[in-house]
Amino acid sequence: MKKILMVSPQLCTGCRICELVCSLSRDGECNPLKSCIRVFKIKEEGIDIPGVCQQCESPLCADVCPVDAISRDPDTGALIIREEICVGCRACSMVCPYGAITMDISKRIMIKCDLCGGDPKCVKFCLTKALVYDRPEVLDTLRQESTLRSLVKPLLKSRETATIKKEKTK
């Protein structure tokens, strides 16, 4: 089963380490503009959202590419842009639902996440686990559990208070 890269904006601290390690491992320099993952900030609200390709099951980018430069890696399931074919027409970036395909301004071709061949660097360097890489059924369960846990927080809190009260009366 192919793994997916899951993003949890609520865990993102906005440090942009993912951008740095992505461009560093791809191009040997630290340059957010050459990164395939980018963090967007709503500073006034303290919210950070990493934007990265989700390797759609029915990829619009591959569908619209006029030169068929985008194809799926059979091992990782990543959608790969073949540099030598890409003509930089930007059609893929127009249809991407995540806005996750950008132009490399020096090479003048489109770039996107290729999951680093199955070992995504951004995930390895993300210390708060805002980015994780695993099979979808595992990640979906984890996300579901953490969401439901937060729903019962008030219930847990009331039990905690009751315990403290009991200890105080001892």
Binding site: C30, N31, K41, K43, E45, F125
Partner: protein, 642 residues
């Protein structure tokens, strides 16, 4: 210089609007790295002694380091340097955020701002294109509004900005420079220097990358550094509670928390200002600066009461303490609100806390009455008066005008013995940690090049390491005893070197408050980025060189041993209660010790020719000699014969 450094310095003269680009001197970069070090030597060379800090003659420097903008940990910082309007000596402040890296991406290692614009302006740096623009509609706005207006004008969320608030415009001496809404270059009045130049903001957008000599080595070094960081208890605590966790340490454990203008070292209302209390009741998310795995920034919100919904991206230890225990207030929400005000008006909140504590104590002692304070009752615990005074200082309104000059000058105006309550060194207000319970910190405050400040030395080991480790590092087990003065000269020198090194790489001090303090992991990252072959010992050498340049700058402005001192309160009045009860700061013997280790003249505190030449600073030795600050070279008989 393709790796680490960008190789270009941007020089902007605001008087004649001339913009030039100069190559970065590689030799200087190798010797001083960048950031604070590069700014230090530049300031020494650009200025002559005795200019007015708030005149067009001052220069304002923005310095980046070779690791800024890379995967190197906490590499989001930058330094602002100028002659300080607070101390008249070396002025310098360091801030996090995202601005420094963006300036590297725009292609620059340093900006030198000269002169003074006729009308308010802002600087727009769009990579190679640099423009001085009219800031008419920004002038008079707070920092939050400035960010919003500029964002709309420049239309790109990637643009990073720094700016001053109304305090900087109004030349409040301790005005700061804010970056990206929440990060402050707070100390030594860099905001008022910027205001005196009529420069409201600098907006930057880059499109280059920072070259890395050994990309895979940098990744390995960073991963290793994350492990070192997170094996440290301090980092674990910090990544959760942020710097407010320090309230517990300084109050409960050390008994060295500023309370009512340093009348005490423990605060009875501490329970409701603890980091844990803040974390549980207000924090909603941890936020990090650029490339920082520690993410100590706390985004918080007031959830209940009349201020429900009020939210902001930063509340530090200093935010909380300066507006609570320092003025006897036990309501954390006063501090949160005051912190937002100081950030928006652009005021250094440590100096603000200093002037508040001073004013409140003068009021208690009867030196000030409601007649002097525009009717405000400055009684300990009066939170409303705290908030009102912050506003009055920012706009220099009434009594606020006197306070906006800092405690030293305010005491000169008020007189009546008020100088005893003006807690400052070299004209800069003290931070929140009482040196009577921390001897090495006291020494650090006294000798710091920018006045009473903890970050030049930050000798955290004084209360964190084992006696064995202290003996290994500083030659005596007593160095691990915070009440002992033994080994503290060496300890402070050791720390100052490493702090100056990190400030020049532009790595955060909270990152290096852990196992990452030691030079090995830092040098590993520096070498991976730059391709140079620095050795761990070079970190000490570079640090020492920087400290000596800053010292020489201050000496040129007339400073000497007499200025390396502490307020009488710390030297003579023992703390009355708590874990540091009965102690004062025994400064003089530590100073002797320190100068000796520094290789400076013990009597005067002036650097010696031998030391300056050993560090490759002959040009500075020559200049100090011309001023009569160091004696001319004595030739040996053998040399004379030649």
């Amino acid at each position: 210089m393709t790796y680490g450094w960008m190789g270009t310095i941007l020089r902007v003269n605001l008087t004649n609007e001339k913009i030039t680009k100069e190559p970065l001197d590689k030799q200087i970069a190798t010797k001083f790295l960048g950031g604070r070090g590069l700014n230090g030597i530049t300031l020494f060379r650009e200025l002559k002694a005795g200019i007015d800090p708030l005149s067009a003659e001052n220069v304002l420097l923005f310095g980046m380091g070779p690791c800024n903008g890379t995967l190197s940990l906490g590499s989001g910082r930058y330094n602002i340097t100028a002659r300080s309007p607070m101390t008249g000596g070396f002025g310098d402040s360091n801030s996090g955020g995202f601005w420094g890296p963006e300036l590297k991406y725009a292609g620059y290692d340093q900006i030198i701002i000269e002169g003074r614009a006729e009308e308010p302006v802002y600087l727009w740096i769009d990579g190679d294109e640099v423009e001085i623009r009219n800031a008419g509609k920004l002038w008079g706005r707070d920092t939050f509004e400035t960010e919003q207006i500029l964002k709309e004008e420049l239309e790109d969320p990637r643009i990073q900005m720094l700016y001053i608030g109304q305090a900087g415009e109004n030349l409040v001496r301790f005005a700061n420079v804010m970056t990206g809404l929440y990060r402050a270059a707070g100390r030594s009045g860099m905001g008022s220097v910027m205001g005196s130049k009529n420069l409201k903001a600098i907006a930057v957008r880059g499109n280059k990358g920072v070259g890395v000599a050994h990309p895979s080595k940098l990744q390995e070094a960073a991963l290793k550094a994350y492990d070192i960081l997170y094996s440290d208890w301090f980092a674990q605590l910090f990544s959760e509670e942020g710097s407010p966790c320090l309230v517990d340490i300084y109050n409960n454990r050390l008994g060295a928390l500023v309370t009512r203008n340093f009348q005490a070292g423990v605060f009875e209302g501490a329970e409701k200002i603890l980091g844990k209390y803040f974390d549980e009741n207000y924090k909603i998310a941890n936020k990090g600066c650029f490339s920082c795995p520690l993410h100590c920034g706390c985004f918080y919100m007031i959830k209940e009461g009349p201020f429900a919904g009020l939210r902001w991206g930063k509340a530090e230890f200093a935010t909380i303490v300066n507006f609570t225990s320092r003025v006897g207030v036990d309501n954390i929400e006063v501090a949160l609100r005051a912190g937002i005000l100081t950030d928006k008006y652009g005021i250094d909140l440590i100096s603000m806390g200093g002037v508040l504590g001073f004013a409140f104590e003068c009021y208690e002692k009867g030196i000030l009455t409601p007649k002097d304070t525009d009717g405000l009752k400055l009684e300990w615990g009066n939170g409303d008066a705290v908030l009102e005074l912050v506003r009055k200082v920012a706009f220099q309104e009434g009594f606020g005008k006197i306070l906006s000059e800092g405690v030293k000058r305010a005491a000169e105006v008020i007189g009546k013995g008020s100088e005893d309550y003006a807690i400052h060194t070299k004209g800069l207000e003290h931070i929140e940690c009482d040196p009577r319970g921390l001897q090495a910190w006291g020494l650090g405050y006294a000798v710091s090049s920018r006045g009473a400040d903890h970050l030049r030395a930050l000798p955290a080991f004084e209360y964190t390491i084992s006696p064995e480790k202290a003996k290994e590092l500083y030659g005596t087990e007593k160095a691990a005893d915070r009440f002992s003065i033994e080994g503290k000269g060496k300890m402070v020198k050791w720390f100052e070197e490493l702090r100056a090194f990190a400030d020049s790489m532009e790595i955060c001090k909270y990152i290096t408050r852990t196992g990452l303090l030691f030079p090995e992991p830092l040098v590993e990252m520096l070498n991976a980025v730059t391709g140079m072959e620095y050795k761990p010992d070079d970190a000490f050498k570079i640090g020492e060189r920087i400290v000596n340049v800053e010292r020489a700058f201050n000496v040129r402005e007339g400073f000497s041993r007499k200025d390396d001192t502490l307020p009488k309160r710390f030297l003579e009045e023992p703390l009355m209660e708590g874990p540091s009860k009965g102690h004062v700061c025994d400064l003089e013997p530590m100073l002797d010790d320190y100068y000796k280790f520094r290789g400076w003249d013990v009597k005067t505190g002036l650097p010696t020719r031998a030391k300056l030449e050993e560090l490759g600073l002959s040009e500075i030795a020559l200049e100090l000699q011309k001023m009569g600050k160091i004696p001319p070279e004595k030739k040996t008989r053998l040399e004379e014969k030649k």
